[in-house]
Amino acid sequence: MKIDVVHVAKLANLPLKSEEKEKFEKQLSEILSYVEKLKEVNTENVEITSQVTGLENVTRKDEAKPSLSQDDALSNTKSQHNGFFKVKAILTE
């Protein structure tokens, strides 16, 4: 199993140093080869388990309730402008 580390890192928005690529490629390929083991298991007609205690459609009333104040919400950011989070431009001309 070989994994294209550069492509995957790009999808995950994860900056990698060039010396990291080789190391991660080797380690991740080893792990992926190990998990190939699952191919031995016959899972025909087996349902998936995503909610392990069997709960379904847990809902609550959609009511507005007090939440964080604007100041609290911004208390951990260095990137703000006029009470808003400031982000990099995503559209360019």
């Binding site: 890192a9 900056p15 899972t43 349902e47 205690t53 951990n76």
Partner: protein, 463 residues
């Protein structure tokens, strides 16, 4: 006996009868932290001032006749639990300066029960690891021998309890992160049923597997802690309450997993486990062999599901609203993000994530079938005793395989209680008692009977 060496139960009695105050008890814990934290690196943050304030209030409440389950008891929190106004790092440089605006539900419940919070404990960054070595704030050391790992990811919590820096500590268990360090430190660790304890406000690792539990010195204390932390929470839709019947140990059947004796268990550990089995029989339980055939696929299954969910949970760290930039993730987080991104990416989803979620069903069915024959199952926690610092750190796959006996409980959503069963070359090891979903009371019952008969918890590391 020093105050910080007491159990919750003993300390509650002493506080109630005014033998000592919560301030004295808290000071004894803070003193122990000051003496030994430099060597053991169990705490990332010590909240001395807040703790002494809380202890003073607790003493006032005790004087006014208040009775709360943790009133005046010093407790440490894994640094993955959001604490209002107190730095919460997840063991990662990414959150080095993050100060939450709210308390996790469990933190609120523990505070409401009167506890004194002494600090935030060290962990593998984002709870990713089995040794504690993935912390960006340096590894925690095993108090029984500082050249050995304390187990992870809740390494600081286990060590803080083992070395009497607090009376109990919280942890999280996604694939063994409570049970493994509990067993490596001669303390009791509970991974509750999935959904028994609220996950709200606890930094998420893998949301379909994360269980919120704790470390204590005794089984009785573990039960006290769960009575505080457990229950339905409107902020976590996966929480629910269910009761399970309890019966005397003499009427119980306990399963030993037939396959596990062939799975490379350390020789000393095997002997200790056989002794535990004999002890349970002496206490009146019947033991019999059962089969969990799909265990051989559990690690592979887990290392698809867990990184997939990790990659999704860690996607929120953009370095804009809080925390620093994504290049500050450590190696293990990067590996898991990339693995998960790969297994969830277009064209691979069916072959990896979906396949693993089907195998998960088969692993769960193994347990359902076994629990028709037996009331509980005992297994080793780890295939080996604690290993040396550095031994597995450059071989992630080898590190992952240390979780072989613990991941199955997370995949099946069942509870597991890790209890001490003795020492191998001076280092502690444990067994886990597994039961059906919501059978915690039964696990406490078995664990308590075994603990009373063996009293391993009375052994303390020489610091």
């Amino acid at each position: 006996m020093k105050l910080n060496e007491l159990t919750i139960k003993e300390a509650r009695e002493g506080l109630k009868s005014k033998k000592f105050s919560s301030v004295e008890l808290t000071k004894a814990c803070l003193e122990q932290i000051k003496k030994h934290n430099k060597d053991l690196n169990a705490f990332i943050t010590v909240t001395e001032k807040e703790a002494l304030d809380q202890a003073k209030s607790a003493d006032e409440l005790i004087s006014s006749g208040q009775d709360l389950p943790l009133l005046g008891i010093p407790i440490a929190l894994k640094d993955l639990f959001s604490t209002k106004g107190i730095k919460t790092t997840a063991g990662s440089k990414v959150l080095e300066n993050y100060v939450p605006q709210y308390d996790a539900t469990v933190v609120k419940k523990i505070k409401d029960a009167g506890a004194v919070i002494v600090g935030k404990t060290n962990l593998d960054a984002w709870a990713h690891g089995s040794s504690g070595e993935n912390s960006d704030f340096g590894p925690t050391k095993n108090p029984w021998n500082k050249e050995y790992v304390p187990g992870g990811s809740s390494s600081g919590s286990a060590v803080s309890v083992a070395s009497d820096m607090c009376l109990a500590a919280t942890g999280t268990d996604t694939g063994g992160s409570i049970r493994l360090p509990a067993s490596f430190n001669n303390v009791v660790g509970l991974k509750p049923t999935y959904g028994k304890v609220s996950r709200y406000g606890i930094i998420a690792m893998a949301s379909s597997l994360d269980s919120i539990g704790h470390f204590t010195k005794t089984v009785e204390d573990s039960e006290i802690m769960l009575s505080v932390t457990g229950g339905k929470d409107i902020m976590d839709a996966t929480t629910l309450e269910k009761k399970h019947e309890v019966k005397p140990l003499k009427k119980m059947k306990i399963g030993i997993v037939a396959q596990y004796s062939f799975m490379g268990i350390d020789k000393n550990l095997k002997t200790l486990l056989d002794n535990a089995d004999k002890q349970l029989k002496k206490l009146g339980a019947n033991t019999e062999y059962i089969s969990l055939p799909n265990t051989q696929y559990a690690t592979a299954c887990y290392y698809i599901i867990q990184p997939s969910e990790v990659s999704s949970n860690l996607a929120r760290y953009d370095g804009i609203r809080y925390g620093s930039a994504r290049q500050n993730f450590g190696d293990e987080a990067k590996r898991r993000i990339m693995l998960g991104t790969y297994t969830l990416s277009a064209g691979y989803y069916d072959a990896y994530y979906k396949k693993a979620m089907q195998v998960r069903t088969l692993i769960k069915q193994d347990f359902n079938y076994a629990f028709k024959k037996v009331d509980a199952i005992i297994t080793p926690v780890s295939p080996t005793p604690p290993w040396k610092l550095g031994e597995k750190i450059n071989d992630p796959l080898k590190m992952y395989l240390s979780d072989i006996f613990t991941v199955t409980a997370n995949l099946a959503g069942i509870p597991g209680l890790s209890v001490p069963i003795g020492f191998s070359n001076g280092l502690p090891v444990g067994m886990q008692i597994l039961g059906p979903q919501f059978s915690e009371a039964r696990l406490f019952q078995i664990g308590y009977a075994y603990e009373q008969a063996t009293q391993w918890y009375k052994q303390k590391p020489k610091l």
